[in-house]
Symmetry: C2
């Protein structure tokens, strides 16, 4: 379950499939074959990339005649193909040893992850992550969109994220003895709002009915137009979005799983404050998203936190002694608990009989673990002595209630989307779990609390950061941009209609594991 999926690029980082850097040996001009230099290269590009349109910018057309002759008409070109157009991004003499680098960016609302690649070998050169500097303006998408409605808002938000990327890409480059001018191609996957703010596009109509983004397809932008530190002709591919609520990060995720290529139906779940779900196969794709609340990302209480050193990510309760055993990231003394720890905890509290099927603490079973703090029942997970902070780590009944709502929302969304397509949850052949957080979840625990359906373990595949993986894949393989268009065009977005039926399903899912216990045959205390 913890294995990173590597279908896109094999383990050496080198794919057998052609990439974006090609060495072209052009026929030398002669009286008989006297087409112009740029047109000579265009002809070769059209053949190599099977396109009917080639875009070579003026700066390159000025340089090509000299370069072609000093390199004996053997040139290494970085070319990107978008739809039926091949764009020359960079060219160098065939024997020029300079690395041509690309940067994959997972543009998260909270966290940004970047991976620097050698575009020729497809090897990872360096990787880095940092908090999205726009957090200073607002923690969530909505707050930032509201800020963007002020006069200088969009420019300021764009400046923040671009500066952040520039700062970290410089550090990345330094770490592997490159300079930013060697970055020629960016691939960026983010949700619709983050992608818009990155490109300096207006977002105000995204949050107003009928929720219209400025752009669905960003196409290939110029890095210089966005203020990115890179080579003069560097380009930026931003994953397209389907609408305001289905962003490029999810399209990148679908691409990373390959579910759009398979005949069997799979589901992809990106677990976070929003549960984003895609169901489908090579024939069709259906997507929806719904609020799952903050509980799953560990943001539910004072001690809840994102995954970080010293944070509890695994919990086990001895069914006999009811002793709570925790595991922390980097094995440091515990200072908090993240979402996967909370799911483990809830599962084990249920299995050990310490909560009832409504998720309520059972005082007789919890015993001395249960304390009252400010008149509210709390369960002690780590005592003062064992804690890294000197304070006991506790979870309140309200925290567990919050988790119950989140897990119920998640299950209801999964049930609704599969039901809409006339499928039963058991029919799902593969269950992809995406997102950094998702990859930490123990699916056994998630099943136990009824958050995800009771499928055999071998159907679950943890994909890690699929948004980044898809962006890396686009930098590595030249056949994927067509697939992105195909994915985008094939997606049907299901508006989750929170009607009486949805609420009935939600209520039924607010039990451990579920009102209909028969749906979870593998779960039992």
């Amino acid at each position: 379950m913890k294995q990173r999926n590597e279908t896109m690029v094999n383990s050496t980082g080198r794919s057998d499939l052609p990439g974006w850097v090609v060495e072209l040996a052009l026929p030398r001009p002669s009286i008989e074959d006297n087409t112009a230099d740029a047109d000579r290269l265009s002809r070769a590009m059209e053949q190599e990339f099977d396109v009917n349109r080639v875009d070579i910018d003026l700066a390159w057309r000025r340089r090509l005649p000299g370069l072609m002759r000093t390199s004996q008409f053997r040139i290494r070109c970085l070319i990107f193909k978008e739809r039926q157009c091949a764009v020359l991004i960079h060219a160098a003499a065939g024997n020029d040893p300079a690395v041509m680098a690309g940067l994959a960016v997972d543009l998260g609302t909270t966290r940004v992850v970047m991976r620097l690649l050698n575009l020729e070998t497809r090897q990872t050169l360096a990787e880095d992550a940092f908090d999205n500097p726009q957090v200073a303006i607002g923690p969530d998408v909505l707050a930032r969109i509201h800020h963007a409605e002020e006069a200088e808002g969009p420019a300021k938000l764009q400046r923040l994220i671009i500066d952040g990327v520039n700062r970290h890409l410089e550090a990345l480059c330094r770490s592997c003895s490159l300079v930013p001018e060697q970055i020629h191609l960016f691939c960026v996957a983010g949700n619709t709002a983050m992608s818009h703010l990155f490109a300096g596009l207006p977002v105000r109509w995204m949050i107003r009915e009928p929720y219209i983004p400025a752009v669905n397809r960003f196409g290939l932008l110029r890095a210089a137009d966005l203020g990115l530190c890179a080579s003069e002709s560097a380009r930026v591919f931003i994953f397209p979005n389907v609408g305001s609520y289905f962003g490029g990060d999810l399209i990148s995720g679908i691409l990373a799983t390959g579910m759009h290529r398979n005949s069997e139906t799979a589901i992809l779940v990106d677990v976070g404050t929003n549960a984003e779900v895609v169901l489908g196969n090579r024939e069709w794709l259906m997507a929806c998203a719904g609020a799952a609340g903050p509980a799953l990302e560990g943001g539910m209480s004072r001690m809840g936190t994102a995954a970080a050193p010293g944070v509890i990510d695994r919990v086990r309760i001895d069914p006999v002694t009811r002793a709570i055993e925790v595991q922390t990231i980097d094995h440091l003394p515990p200072v908090g608990i993240c979402g996967s720890g909370v799911i483990d905890l809830a599962a084990h509290l249920f299995l050990s009989g310490m909560v009832d099927i409504r998720g309520k603490f059972k005082p007789e079973a919890c015993g001395e673990h249960l304390v009252e703090v400010n008149g509210v029942a709390h369960l002690t997970i780590v005592s003062e002595d064992a804690s890294g902070s000197g304070e006991a780590l506790r979870i309140s009944q309200a925290d567990v209630d919050s988790l119950m709502r989140s897990k119920a929302a998640m299950y209801t969304i999964l049930e609704t989307i599969t039901g809409t397509m006339g499928l039963a949850l058991e029919e799902l052949e593969t269950f992809y779990v995406a997102g950094t957080f998702g990859s930490l979840i123990d699916p056994r625990s998630a099943i136990t609390i009824g958050m995800i359906p009771d499928l055999p373990m071998d159907r679950f595949r943890s994909m890690g950061n699929t948004s980044l993986a898809g962006a890396v894949a686009v930098l590595s393989r030249r056949d994927l941009t067509m697939e992105i268009d195909a994915i985008r065009d094939r997606i049907t977005y299901l508006e989750l209609n929170v009607n009486q039926e949805f609420m009935n399903r939600f209520s039924a899912a607010k039990f451990l594991p579920h009102t209909h216990k028969e749906r979870f045959p593998s779960v039992g205390p």
Copy 2:
């Protein structure tokens, strides 16, 4: 013969064929039709222009959401289609009265002519001409190419022409109360070298075997990248060239005549220091060029000059009295003689028996007109008293010899290109004469000296500045860019092989009207 051809755009300047400015009434977004703003416009553009690719730059994608809503989704767009791609150049609210202007440029080596158009009404707003400022670097193409080989040469040459265009377009705009920011589209027709220098492209390999230009198709460049004063998103269409020796000015000329659309075979002749000739019909086009010498452009002697006020452009000799009658431009006292005057003069000298069939002055017939200056025979055309300069205007035997070579070269080129296609000169249904100079020539005189074939007068059509006319047509009608590609792809360039056969023809053509007098049945003294 003097009538300007107006097949491209009718006399009001308004064509019934669609132009580049369209008013698009976009469907308003709704929950059911919630595609993004830029994609909504793209969809409308794809339909209107029948393309599979749309290019809307980032600056416009930033502005569109606001513009679409303030204009109630009714916008006037300036769109240019190049091959299968429609590019949004400018957009305004449907009721915005600002003129969208375009500038057609005939980029001559010696002279630049510009016409400012209203792109919506297709009406001419203003026109101007000025000497190509690159003349300061070198009078001809070769001198400028040599200069461009110096380090700062290309930049300097580009700066000169761009500054010249900017200076004059500002004046043009002022003259009709516009500002340069209202110019959104340029269409430029020039020979290969002038087009390259305009775009700042290297030219050094154009003059070295195998004579390779940097670019054949320039595509749609950004005015800002060239330093042109215009709107921020303005684009520049430069006519493509076939090779170093067949430039966009000639493709523009072919377009202006429409010869590429007709079933009958026509010939287009641009008379100048180089004779440039295109032969063909809607099935095929064959082109060639050859040196004709300076005589035809009036640059052969001290008194020879380009057309200007006071310059003799028509000459008649009374067959009985042998009195020479001249007509000058603007009816001012004569100060020089231009090419058309020289051709008239030579024809009438022949018809009146004052020169023999080799073009040599016959002293007995010339009488007192003939004087010796510095030991060389000269014929007085205008006496000191009648001259505007106080000096007699005279033509030397060497000048007439020079004209004889030029006219023989022209005829030989025409004979060779038609012969290559297995045609006789008499089979030419239409004989287009292009160029400002060409339009001044009296075809009767040109036939009399055997410079052009002895066709019925109604087959000659004087086209004026076809290079400018083609550029104006491209700004006016949206169906021509495809035709330009078709013309370019259909042209076969005939290398004039100056072999024994060519030299034999040339020698035979060095008589008045020709060694084979039977080819000129209409000519007789």
